[in-house]
């Protein structure tokens, strides 16, 4: 028999081991770690949403749903998206309910890419972008964003990467891992490029409810979706979901909104791979959209208070950290300590039992920074920041 390693498809073999995975194993072996390494809310889903899921089970809703998702959920999504993004999608054929945005992204890549087609996206970024593109036989073309620009994506950098094989521009604002928000003027320039070069834009806006104003961070910041810019709806696939704002990560529910032809193409794959998203999660999601706004804002304000603490403490320690406009991550610049992101994170874990994720886990453009997630109780954050302070003052002495 041939060795089993030789049975693995080339596409899979060539995907490098996840940097997050390595770090995870290291952290898991230790007690008393305060982890700022998570990528999800510390809140449970609000009770009224959990209760709706329980009720859905009580009523015996345990069957398949339409491949697209429950029509009532798609109608709720359509209304919500209109309110949130100012773009309206027809619930009948322009909305597809998926198992998280992760599935939606996979569907997008498989539906749009022929072998060798290029996808431009900005790094540092969520860890699944490059593998999802590669698994669909596409070519991942990262554009570097820089800490000096507060990780804003420059349209000129995008333009420099466009070739005749470019098919898609993939955006994620607010960004995981940096918390960066794209200014509208720059977003407009990217939209212009997409129109000029006839490209599809895929916009992952999973963090769009978690925005912080510039002054104190306590007020809700403004969100502009690229789908809402003139001429963009017809060439944009908008990805969103319930994990972050509604604290529903384990429900595994997201959605894609796109022109009918694109939605149908994604649905073709979804119906054979996933069939449909879990009905219990779908019923909970209707409750989330119809009655969840207040809880979302309450959680956002809790994140805002923690964000204020973390930013203040990093600055007091002399660690440069820009004010991220969204999500629940800070992305401090640790270059002045002369350590790589990995060494910084590993030593911080070893010496002070605080886990942050090395920036290079999100692409080489993240090197020199670490991701600190502040979706953790204020008390824990205070201890974590004290420990980081002790660590960096040792580094400096």
């Amino acid at each position: 028999m041939k060795p089993l390693e030789d049975r693995i498809a080339d596409q899979v073999k060539q995907i490098p081991r996840s940097g997050i995975r390595d770090f995870f194993e290291l952290v898991q072996g230790r007690d008393d770690v305060i982890s700022l390494g998570v990528g999800e809310p510390d809140f449970s889903a609000p009770w009224h949403i959990r209760e709706a899921a329980i009720y859905s089970l009580e009523k015996g809703h345990t069957s398949y749903t339409s491949n697209l998702g429950l029509l009532s959920l798609r109608e709720s999504i359509s209304r919500y998206v209109t309110g949130q993004f100012g773009v309206t999608y027809d619930p009948a054929n322009e909305v597809l309910v998926t198992v998280g945005v992760s599935e939606a992204l996979d569907l997008v890549c498989r539906a749009l890419l022929n072998p060798g087609d290029e996808v431009i996206y900005h790094e540092p970024c969520y860890v699944s972008y490059s593998p999802s593109i590669a698994l669909a036989y596409g070519v991942a073309v990262p554009v570097e964003t820089r800490v000096e620009d507060e990780f804003v994506l420059k349209a000129e950098d995008v333009a420099a990467k466009i070739t005749d094989r470019t098919r898609v521009i993939l955006l994620n604002f607010p960004t995981n891992p940096t918390g960066a928000v794209e200014p509208v003027e720059e977003l407009q320039k990217i939209a212009d490029l997409a129109i000029e070069h006839d490209l599809i834009v895929v916009s992952d806006e999973i963090y769009c409810e978690l925005l912080y104003d510039e002054e104190t961070g306590m007020e809700l910041g403004e969100h502009v979706s690229i789908a809402s810019l003139p001429g963009m709806k017809e060439r944009t696939i908008l990805l969103h979901g319930f994990s972050k704002a509604f604290a529903m990560t384990g429900f595994r529910l997201g959605y894609a909104c796109a022109p009918q032809i694109l939605t149908e193409a994604m649905m073709k794959i979804h119906q054979y791979s996933m069939l449909c998203a879990p009905i219990m999660s779908q019923n909970a999601a209707i409750e989330a959209l119809e009655n969840g706004a207040e809880e979302v804002e309450r959680m956002r304000r809790a994140y805002a208070r923690r964000r204020n603490l973390v930013l203040k403490r990093f600055r007091e320690m002399g660690i440069p950290c820009f004010s991220p406009g969204g999500a629940f991550y800070a992305f401090p610049d640790i270059r002045k300590f002369g350590l790589s992101s990995k060494d910084f994170a590993f030593r911080l874990l070893e010496e002070e039992d605080v886990a942050v994720v090395p920036g290079d886990a999100f692409g080489m453009a993240g090197e020199g920074c670490v991701r600190a997630c502040y979706a953790t109780s204020y008390e824990q954050l205070e201890i974590a920041m004290d420990r980081i302070e002790a660590f960096v003052s040792r580094l400096e002495s």
Partner: protein, 159 residues
Amino acid sequence: MDALVELLQQEARLTTSEIADRLGRSEAEVKEMMGKLETDGTVLGYHAVIDNETLEETPVSALIEVKLTPERDGGFDKMARRIAKFSQVTNCYLMSGGYDLAVIVEGPDLRDVARFVSEKLSTLDGVISTATHFQLKVYKQNGFLAKDSREDERLPVTP
């Protein structure tokens, strides 16, 4: 200001500098805002939320429905204010529906509360009737669930 009120409702023990950190303001600004809230009567006081059942000597609490005869001048206000002044009364609300005042009374034991109702409350001119409901168990108080603890089940590092 709303952000400050929300924070005080959750954690009134914070120092002004701790509040300033959370709200992204200066300590002077926070002091000024708090002073305003106190003088305009928005903040009536600061207290700990206690689950009485955990105390060694558990006080007794009762909700009393009170029906009143409204007065020509001032409706229920005069009576309500008079009732609210008793130290045994912890909360007092004018209600819509089948009765007029909801009065929450606390005392060291059952007899003490019963005595207060029969001797003080029901003998007041204008009180038509009272109905006393003793509290048996606390599940949630002032927004806090009784003895609620939840382990963090999240994986320590996720993308």
